[in-house]
């Protein structure tokens, strides 16, 4: 994934730039200058769209300008050949692009590592050839190029010479920035950043990873296609060379230099690097060299780009406490979420709570075989409701493998895993999550550039009916839903005892102990019946282990939560768990009360190892 950190809440900065562009539009600048700024704004629309896919989702796309080409040609062909009005042409084009992007995207999002980069790069090469080829000749007139009919609507002349085109481009750029910002800062946007951090964690929190990736790809493609309208009107004539595949590299470079993952950065990059070459007007090659050098320097030394520099400088200038970065609280931050009196226990996920006696988890003869190695060998285990059950054993005994089976990350080769009366052995992760089974991870993959509250809200990803359209409409549309989720997240943070002052802090600024606690809050947010903890104590000093033990006991006592904790520290197990299962080489070698089990010689041997093979063991 692309290493650079994404930024939240950068809309004020983008709006400032748009305000500047508006001011510039009012000034009596001449036609040449006006044309340059319109061109820059068109590139800005494409760059902002791409930033969602490459900045927030962290996926490479070296062929994005092909969609601008598709947009420009399709709108112009519809208007000139089929003399369709401009608005229907734009909408039809965006629909067409969405379908095409869905097809190409379906393949691209499945590709690993740089497969996506290469596939999109080749797609742009293919499009360049198709535009110049003869299959689409009747539409694109291939090399002859396609003249763009001038656009006017009543008295407003949107053609290249009129000044209204400037405002059309500005309005579309404003729309693109708003919609993309909403997407990036919405629940769907946060899910993208979680996928960028770790796809498996996203899966366990109920995110349909491939669908999320595809919707981001289609969204950025549609925005790019929309950029085709102002671009085609400005240039007035479309030729395949205008959409040469190297433009896609230039577009991606603008993102890297402007500041990827911040929307405002993409805007800065696009505006500077479209206007600069035109203004320099010198020999084209010299300015191309300068651009390439700047791109390389930023890719190596400043992956956060110009926006990153500005953000850091701003942070130094104002010396805000290191915790709350530029992410000025704007909407759904802590201040807005008034903490209702802490609802007793994690709000029950619509009554999934089992009656007292029934078991939260029953595992019967669960076996897992990895290429000849029996990681789990007929493991049986029972977690009574509202109890803490520890799963212990030496390294490599199969503890995490068992957790993966219960949480759906791994499908057991044999045996049954029963949760709330249902065998979930075969169910996908988000279905198991919906049953109220939540888990944490050995290293708590929180999204580093999201605040604590935003991270915990991600835990509620699967629990509410959400739609992408409402996300795009922005906070006001999903205000009600946003506040409800905010409150549930706050309630979870309350329970695990994270002070409200820390809710705005970026996850990257938390200590390891704090991260583990937030990870638990994320797991239990939105109601959880069975909490699976994967070595919560690993990496913690003794000082931090005490409070964690108290937290688990409090969750069990006050909120009747059933917990299965994988742990190493025998002391921690004795202190917290009601019952223990000891695993060694994938087999259960002991079960029952912690103190009794720990005294069992076979357990000691498993832990302390054996001096001589088969030697008689002295107590």
């Amino acid at each position: 994934m692309f290493a650079a950190r994404a930024h939240s809440r950068t809309l004020p900065f983008s709006l400032a730039i748009l305000a500047a562009l508006a001011l510039l539009g009012l000034l009596p600048i001449d036609q040449g200058m006006r044309y340059i700024v319109v061109l820059s704004m068109a590139w800005g629309i494409a760059a902002v769209g791409l930033d969602l896919f490459s900045g927030y989702l962290g996926q490479a796309n070296f062929g994005q300008f092909a969609f601008v080409g598709i947009g420009a040609y399709s709108i112009t062909a519809l208007r000139s050949e089929a003399n369709v009005g401009v608005v229907p042409a734009l909408l039809l084009t965006m629909a067409l692009t969405a379908v095409l992007a869905a097809i190409v995207g379906a393949a691209t999002v499945r590709l690993q590592h740089f497969g996506a980069a290469l596939a999109t790069f080749f797609f742009a090469f293919v499009l360049f050839n198709v535009l110049g080829g003869n299959t689409l000749d009747p539409v694109t007139h291939s090399e002859n190029g396609l003249a763009v009919p001038p656009l006017s609507w009543g008295p407003l002349d949107f053609s290249a010479t009129g000044e209204w085109l400037y405002w059309l481009a500005w309005a579309m750029l404003l729309a693109a920035v708003l919609v993309t910002s909403n997407y990036a800062n919405s629940r769907a946007g946060r899910a993208l950043r979680l996928i960028k951090r770790s796809e498996s964690v996203a899966g366990t929190l109920g995110v349909r990873v491939r669908l999320a990736k595809l919707s981001a790809f289609v969204f950025s493609a549609v925005v790019a296609a929309a950029a085709g309208l102002p671009l085609s009107l400005a240039i007035g004539y479309l030729a395949p060379e205008t959409f040469h595949f190297s433009n896609s590299i230039t577009l991606f470079a603008m993102l890297v230099v402007g500041g990827i993952g911040s929307i405002a950065g993409a805007l800065i990059g696009a505006l500077i690097f479209t206007a600069l070459p035109q203004l320099m007007q010198g020999a084209g090659a010299a300015e191309a060299l300068l651009f390439a050098v700047i791109f390389l320097v930023f890719a190596i030394g400043l992956p956060d780009g110009i926006f990153g520099l500005l953000a850091r400088a701003w942070q130094l200038a104002v010396r805000t406490p290191p915790g709350s970065r530029l992410a000025a609280r704007r909407g759904s931050g802590a201040s807005r979420v008034h903490v209702a009196s802490a609802a007793p226990g994690p709000a029950p996920a619509d009554g999934l709570r089992g009656p007292g006696g029934e078991d939260a988890l029953v595992a019967e003869d669960v076996s897992v075989v990895f290429g000849g190695v029996r990681a789990l060998d007929r493991v049986g285990l029972r977690v009574r409701s509202a109890s803490i059950h520890a799963l212990v054993g030496p390294n490599g005994a199969g503890k995490t493998t068992f957790l993966n089976c219960v949480s759906g990350l791994l499908r057991p080769t044999a045996g049954r895993v029963v949760v709330a009366g249902r065998d979930v052995g075969r169910s996908p992760t988000h279905e198991i999550r919906a049953l109220g089974v939540s888990r944490t991870f050995q290293n708590p993959s929180l999204v580093p550039d999201l605040s604590v509250l935003d991270n915990v809200m991600l835990g509620l990803y699967g629990s509410h009916r959400w739609s992408l359209v409402r996300d795009l409409a922005g906070d006001w549309a999903s205000r009600g839903r946003q506040r409800a989720v905010g409150e549930q997240a706050a309630a979870a943070l309350e329970q695990v005892g994270v002070p409200a002052a820390r809710w705005d802090v970026l996850a990257s600024d938390l200590s390891l102990g704090e991260q583990k606690v937030v990870d638990i809050a994320r797991a239990i947010a939105g109601g959880s019946r069975l909490l699976l903890l994967d070595e919560p104590t690993s990496g913690l000093g003794d000082a931090e282990m005490g409070p964690l033990a108290d937290l688990l006991k409090r969750l069990r006592a006050d909120h009747r939560l059933s917990i299965l904790v994988v742990a190493h520290n025998i002391g921690f197990v004795q202190d917290t768990s009601d019952t223990v299962t000891v695993l060694d080489f994938g087999r259960v070698i002991a079960e029952g009360e912690p103190n009794r089990v720990i005294a069992d010689p076979e357990v000691i041997t498993a832990y302390l190892g054996v001096a001589e093979v088969g030697a008689e063991v002295s107590a």
Binding site: P12, F13, L15, A16, I17, A19, A20, L21, L23, L24, L27, I29, D30, Q31, G32, M33, Y35, I36, V37, L39, N129, G132, G133, N134, S142, E143, N144, G145, A147, A160, T161, A234, I235, G236, Y237, L238, A239, E241, T242, H244, A275, Q278, L279, Q281, G282, A283, G284, A285, A288, L310, W314, V318, T320, S324, L326, A328, R329, R330
Partner: protein, 401 residues
């Protein structure tokens, strides 16, 4: 914290605006001093040229621009035109539409009296509407696409489709009847070119074998050569960019698939860069029309001397002479248009030219209200031992399609 944040944003906005104004300041240079026409002052005539100084056609484009500049320097050195010096603002468009359009807009704003020269179809096609609307004369770009209903656009070389018909008729007359196969690049009016070629072949009693269309930047031309070889043509017509023509012909030699009689081409093949790029077996069977005489031809002597004197490190090739010739025509027209120079006056002067030898290196030039293509005949080119030779001329009648 929030209030001061907005402070930063507006500060950045202000900086951006100032920078932009500064930028725009330079773009609008001095307007026209109270002279007779935009771009003309008491002692200067401002001309604009947008040409592909970078990109994959930068070679020929730069040579045409330098050739013309030599003529303008000579005119300025010998007193200018009616006492006015010719100032040329040359901007690079890298053979891409967006840059060409930007340059055209700059010329309209500057303003320039007229736009002269330039290389290639794409830039020309993209700026004709802008210049026509701004009533700025656009004179003699190096390309053969028709712009029928334009008042301010004047072309020099005969249109591609007319060249195609003429070269086939002339070749069959000169080398005897035979079959014709064509390779056509996706240039401007590809469909017409093919139709015209087919018609010309049958009219001259030849046999039309078919054609292939190819995109620019093809890596390997062997498949196309194999298709052509199967047809065993006497003549092969090649009509695409110089680079792709050279690659196709080189592949023909490699596959031993040279045509029985001649390789025919348009003006792009009658250039040194093409002759040097292909094996001599191929260049020796070349037959193509050229808009201007070869450097070795005595008609080119005046231009060769001008270029050597005023642009010494510019190599004298077909493209250089084209630049020189078209510049001489411009100078001739400006002088004839008299002292109170207006754009419409220049148009009227040009349209009044009939069979004028304004530039010895070109063929006689005539324009009229209905015909804005200067040349109606071209030089016949063959090559032997990598030396271009122009022997006689051939008429290029207008083909009605």
């Amino acid at each position: 914290m929030k209030r001061s944040f907005w402070l930063l944003s507006t500060a950045v906005a202000a900086v951006f605006v100032v920078a932009a104004c500064g930028g725009s300041g330079t773009a609008t240079s001095s307007g026209n001093g109270g002279a007779t026409a935009p771009g003309v002052t008491s002692d200067t005539i401002q001309i604009g040229t947008t040409s592909a100084l970078t990109g994959n056609v930068s070679g020929p484009a730069t040579l045409t621009t330098n050739g013309a500049q030599a003529v303008f320097d000579k005119v300025n050195a010998t007193g200018g035109i009616h006492g006015r010096k010719l100032k040329v603002n040359v901007l690079d468009d890298g053979y891409t539409a967006p840059k060409a359009v930007a340059n055209a807009r700059t010329f309209v704003d500057q303003p320039v009296f007229a736009v002269f020269g330039g290389y290639g179809t794409v830039p020309a096609q993209s700026i004709v509407p802008i210049l026509e609307q701004a009533k700025v004369p656009y004179l003699f770009p190096y390309q053969g696409n028709p712009y029928p209903d334009t008042k301010y656009v004047f072309l020099m070389m005969p249109l591609y489709r007319n060249q195609t018909a003429a070269v086939i008729k002339e070749a069959i007359q000169k080398y005897g009847k035979g079959s014709v196969y064509a390779l056509v690049g996706k240039t401007a009016d590809t469909p017409q070119t093919v139709q015209v070629a087919q018609q010309a072949t049958t009219d001259a009693g030849g046999k039309w074998l078919g054609y292939d269309e190819v995109n620019q930047g093809t890596t390997d031309y062997t498949p196309y050569v194999l298709r052509m070889k199967q047809a065993h043509p006497d003549f092969v017509l090649v009509s695409t960019t110089p680079t792709d023509c050279a690659r196709y012909v080189t592949a023909m030699v490699a596959q031993g698939a040279l045509p029985a009689k001649r390789i025919l081409g348009l003006q792009t093949l009658a250039t040194e860069s093409f002759i040097n790029a292909v094996p001599s077996e191929a260049s020796d069977v070349l037959f193509a029309p050229g808009p201007n005489a070869a450097p070795s031809n005595k008609l080119a002597a005046d231009c060769v001397a001008t270029v050597h004197k005023y642009s010494p490190n510019t190599q004298v090739t077909m493209e250089t002479l084209w630049g020189c010739g078209t510049a001489q025509v411009l100078v001739y027209a400006l002088e004839k248009a008299g002292t109170n120079l207006t754009r419409d006056g220049l148009v009227k002067t040009l349209e009044g030219m009939h069979q004028i030898d304004a530039a010895p290196v070109l063929t006689p030039i005539s324009f009229s209200a209905s015909n804005h293509v200067g040349e109606s005949s071209m030089y016949q080119f063959t090559s032997s031992g990598k030396q271009l030779a122009s022997a006689g001329t051939m008429p290029i009648p207008d083909v009605k399609t």
